[in-house]
Amino acid sequence: MKKIKNIIVVFIVISLTGSCSKKWLEENPPHLITTETLYTNLNGFEAGLNGLYSLVRGEREGRDFTTENLVADIAMIGTDNIVPNQRGGFGFIALLYNTNNESNNSNLRSVFLWLYQTINAANTIINQAENRTDIDWESGGTSTDANKNRIIAEAKALRAWAYRHLTFCWGDVPLNLEESLGSNIKTDWTRTPVADVREVMKTDWLFAEQYLDAEPKIRGKISKGAVQHYLSELYLTIGKPDSALIWANKCINTPAYKLITERYGVRANQPGVAFMDMFYEGNSNREEGNTEALWVWQWEYNVVGGGADYGSIMRRYHNATSHHLQIKIGDVVPLQKTPERGGIGIGREQPTKWAINLYEPQDDRGSNYAIRKYYILNTAAENAPAPADRLPNGYNYGDTIKLSWENDLTGLGNNLVNNYPFIRKYDTYKAETDPLRGSYNDQTYLRLAETYLLKAEAQLKLGDKPGAAETINIVRRRSHTSDISASDVTLDFILDERSRELIGEEHRRYTLLRTGKWLERVQLHNHRGGQTAAARDTLYPIPQIVIDANLTKKMPQNPGFN
């Protein structure tokens, strides 16, 4: 009896396990999301765009979620107006172009991958939106066509933005317009000629411009004006100043876009200049009164998606307060750390002596509000909650501690100058976030003043010097500096004006490259690394891993690099 009972039990168990069929081998992870499941409705595409913007924002962050190796430096450092002080990140290349600008540099490789990740995220959105037939584009107020076009427009605008970086940095680059799948891994990429890549960028931006809002309803999104601005710059780059002028005018003539000419915002009743107001936290967004902004990037402390524990490191790299807190006069270290001094940065990059001396004395953009040139010794009341500054021998409260740019930043080693001016556009004034490496204030990424200067450049190229002078004067008047006349307008003057207005904001390297002035001005004005630059350094070398991974087609390196 027992034996029969055992046999029955056994057969039941066998049949149960036997029926565990192939169903057990199927994978149904509830916690993973794929393009199939996400891109089925408008919300899904918005989420995809949010991820894309988060990638794009990485330009002003450190590489790979850290607080070092500022990505934006690939376009800003080692030029005629910004050089390394305390070396770090791309500063190593900028300091020793001859030995450190090489194909195994990990920063170059990291930025290259990040740009293609951005492009792939955009490609995925575009391909899914254009090719799938099962998408529900319904939303509350707008038509399904408008929704679909707007989504594709934003993705295309950002894709072209990424190719802009790639083409300026590396020249001919592989043109990848398909989403990457396991089934289309390629080992035979070609380096598409720059002109062809720029044609694709132009097509993308021309499409995008039609469907974007002049004033986006969600902060951080790219505006119609920003795309018009990029089109203007692209046409200048490919030698079509007439089209460049048209697009610059479209942007400038948009009623919503106006230069800031009067004090406004959260620090309006404190001493300062109108030019700097838009850089203060609480003033940068269009919604906060910044009529000049074309694109404002978003960060937020202690909010998911606000930059986690790394944030933006523009302040960390440009602000040099941590050096100045070590200035010693006699035996005394006078300066205290207070939020009013703009937060803590370690000054990895600071302006050249030439750049600081470009300003007329009354130019707001060269004032102490814009470029830190001195400190005032403060009493305890003035420094609260920090203690009073310490007084060196013979000094009183109210006296000035002056920084010096008598000596330019020079040399090729690890010398650090600890009393040199810095650009204050990224200073923050909040006790909570000032000591952190990352900063979390929103930043104006693109603004109308630069569009005016593109317009002037186009007018110059078309022979309209008086028009160019007037355009430049509009920008100069805002900062209360003198008017110029038509005979003053040259390409060099415009480049100087761009430095005065946009130092630390514009992609200076790209501007000098597209005007053919990079090597000349680097050798003339950059004495901390500029002396090591050569003609080949107008391009970065293609990262070696890209060449090695191209197994079935030899990928040529840029000339002059091994």
Partner: protein, 586 residues
Amino acid sequence: MNYGNALQGLLADNIDEGYQVVTNNYAIVDFPFVKGLQYRINTGVRFGVSNDATYYGRNTQRGFRDGGSASTSRGISKDIVIENIVNYNRDFDKHRVFLTGVYSFENSRSNTNRLSAQGFPNDFLKWYGAPQAALNVPGFSNSETTLLSAMGRINYSYDSRYLLTLTGRSDGYSGFGEKTKQGFFPSMALGWNIINENFFKWKDIFSQLKLRASIGRNGNQAVSAYETISRLASRDIVDGTVTLPGYIPRTIGQNNLGWESTKTLNSGLDFGFLNNRITGDINLYKSNTTDLLLDRTISPVSAFDQITQNIGETENKGLEFSVTSTNISTNNFRWETTGNIAFVKNKIVSLYGFKDDKGKEIDDIANRWFIGKPIRVNYGYQWIGVWQLDEATEAAAHKTQPGYIKIRDVSGPDGVPDGILSAAYDRIIIGQSDPKYTWGMNNSFSYKNLSFSVFMYGIHGVTKENDLLNDDVGRDITQNTIKKNWWTPDNPTNDWVMNRLDANRQEGQIAGAYENASFIRLRDVSLSYDFPNDILTRLGLDKFQIYVSGRNLHTFTKFGGTDPELTGQRDIPLQREYTIGLNLGF
């Protein structure tokens, strides 16, 4: 973070708990009608729970910076194994038959809930205060894999002289692609017990002699769950203070991922002499693995670093030899030696099948996989010394100077050294990372109640980079660096370059310092004394032994790093241990 108190972890509050319930059961049913037929079911269940929580308060640098920082996690894991085994066992005449069939099910599941929080109003509640923290970021992870296998085996022997084993198995793994989940792996083994043959004449010398040969295929499913699925990861942004959830493509999957399979041909001889005074075996094998499951580095243009794929074919050939010998055996004294040595040669036979215009298959430099070469090799520029003062003109021709690293100019576009360092022509293979041969030897001695044993082993043929020599001169040196024989004009050595920022680069390139990492290690030495029986009976014990032993006592090697066996030279090295102990049995 680098410049906080290195001991701040001691001030953190921490819980680290794990619990596990394990049960293994079986039932055996002997079939009443069929003699020799038996059914057995094995079940094993392991259920685990983990509970971790850490809180850094404002008395630590991290807590001060973040306003209190907490991370908690709770995890559950369940592993189930069910095996159904049917055995049939019969002996008739000189034939012996043993049949087995197995059907098994193996399932592993784990999921974890996590929370990170910072910006606490105070430190009183530690992580329990998370509801009031400014930032709470939860996270979840989840994984499940299943393996379904069916196997049959026939064991047959005739007269204890001729042996045959035939096996076939079929496995399905959930982590593989929809159409590629199954693998079939058969094998056959033959044995000939020569010692039992009538015609074998040397039975007084040999106590054991058996010839073996086998051929078979086995499989490897070494991928985690979900590798076939291309998926997105979350990547959020903000609009003012409002979180906007976002996703980006993060992992690329290969949807026809399948079994890695190895075909092995093996032949061997087991022997024994002098009444098993000396025994041992020799094995000769050749195995070919195809469809290796590898993480392949791909072009960054695809937006991904790596993809897991089934790739290519490799071949392993080897010879193994082991011996156990009772050298001396008298009433009071015994000396026994056990040793083994294994030689192996491996090489890549094929990768993707891409051929160049001469019909030769193309290497994959990005992954350091070269056709015809070992699977894991070192690849890069080769350091051959330091430019000396009398080589100044030649150094200048290479755009460098005395005191700087000298990198070998291997070749150029014309097939001869061209005076320029280029990635295309001057990077070479510098040795392999896997050993060429390994051996181990144990000698044990016993005299009356005293025993002494020594175990040593050696690994040879490995070339490894001594990256302890690399200084992170990016920042001012804040970490310890090892003492080096720096080049100076008065000390024209080739050991190390001069003390200057870029002296370790030539034309912008660096070369790793590769060294021979072969070694012999004195691993275990042990001396013990067993108290004699009369003391044992007096104390009422079954066993009473005292011993003293040492481990990792000495390593003989030319490698200059911390430990030739470690992958990372800055990891914690093996320790030398001395133990004194007591073994009691009741």
